[in-house]
Symmetry: C2
Subunit: 253 residues, 2 copies
Amino acid sequence: MIESILFDLSGVLYDGDQVIPGAQQAVQRAQRSGIEVRFITNTSQKTRQNLLLHLHSLKFAVEETQLFTAVDAARQWLRQRNLRPFCLVHENIIGEFADFDQHNPNAVLIADAAEGFHYHSLNRAFQLCIAGAPLLGIGYNRYFKSGDQLVLDAGAFIKTIEFGAGVEAVIVGKPSVEFFKQVVASTSARPEHTLMVGDDVFGDVEGALNVGLQAALVRTGKYRPGDEDKVSGDFNTVDSVTEAVELALNNRG
Amino acid sequence: MIESILFDLSGVLYDGDQVIPGAQQAVQRAQRSGIEVRFITNTSQKTRQNLLLHLHSLKFAVEETQLFTAVDAARQWLRQRNLRPFCLVHENIIGEFADFDQHNPNAVLIADAAEGFHYHSLNRAFQLCIAGAPLLGIGYNRYFKSGDQLVLDAGAFIKTIEFGAGVEAVIVGKPSVEFFKQVVASTSARPEHTLMVGDDVFGDVEGALNVGLQAALVRTGKYRPGDEDKVSGDFNTVDSVTEAVELALNNRG
């Protein structure tokens, strides 16, 4: 019984500037059916505003309040603790943290910094962490699809620092339990009546299952054959978001 | 009962160009006592030849056959399998792999590449590994001391690729069981009569204990207070290599 769908963005609705075939119609069908929808992403190469513009340019009718991003969760976490972050983030989103004091940092934030990941920046993060700074990670994703290649995502570099410094990161965004709970709480559906649709078998599927959601793994985006065997638990593997929505509509609450 | 001592190099005998006070005398004392000595290192910023020159310039009487390096172990491992490595190694040791065909690589080697670790080189390693290339790591050290700073070592970047690609590296050098066994086999002492002296509680101490050696953790080099609590097992923590040799001589075989 599905009353709400959480859509991952990249790899589920689009790849870069290319809409996944059928994705616009699938989202529209869900919206018209009265199922509640939310859009949740760990992407940290675009600001919230640019994400919304991108979605709208691709003809996805996403409302501002329906979009939940890991970058927002990171801002919130740092703000609540009044921390001065050393930000290993993409140049596109540096502005999202411009209102934080970043002198003499006492926290480390790792997002998808791309070229910003190099020996010196990673050593700086490491040195702050062994001196006691908390490590905050945006998502724990291993890799993502960029053009026709898979490339390392923030999770792999969070792991670099976790292992090097012997610390454990606080993860915001997927698969953080708090993040999923926050998104579900914004709907009127219970977790077990909520379907997460994603292309990352760990961040999307395993994360959702851990919080008691239902989950569908799509065979688009970063999906690779065999991914469905990497996580145990009860979930569906479907060709694309079209089939995921079909599944949800066939199991309406 | 100690019949043989394995000395780690950096942090135990010297820091950069500075001899650890008393280290020359300690090694000499061990050598004159008839205890067998070996020198074992994961360092991958110097060739074997330069390591020997460095040791001799610091007045350590190390014979060529007494030096065991992780770089040699890596060469051997790749050669035995006739592999074409993508080498993420320090510029100083590129020549050590010059006799390998490195076109169209079908293996990944990660050593301490320092500035050679950047987004593109790590992505290349990741992409080869998800395509099935084995991942070979020189040591699994988390960090080392460079000048008066701790900096990330190869282990942290091996972890990046292991997590990103979902693979497990083959580790040569410490704490690999094969490496310790090979060094011990070059002596006439049994493992339980062999003392490993190191400043890395994981690579040196835990590694040695896992193979049934005795171990002493020195409070020099990268040692940080509390390190001795990070590993369980029976080992001594001593002020320096001087005290470690003293301990061995007091427990002569």
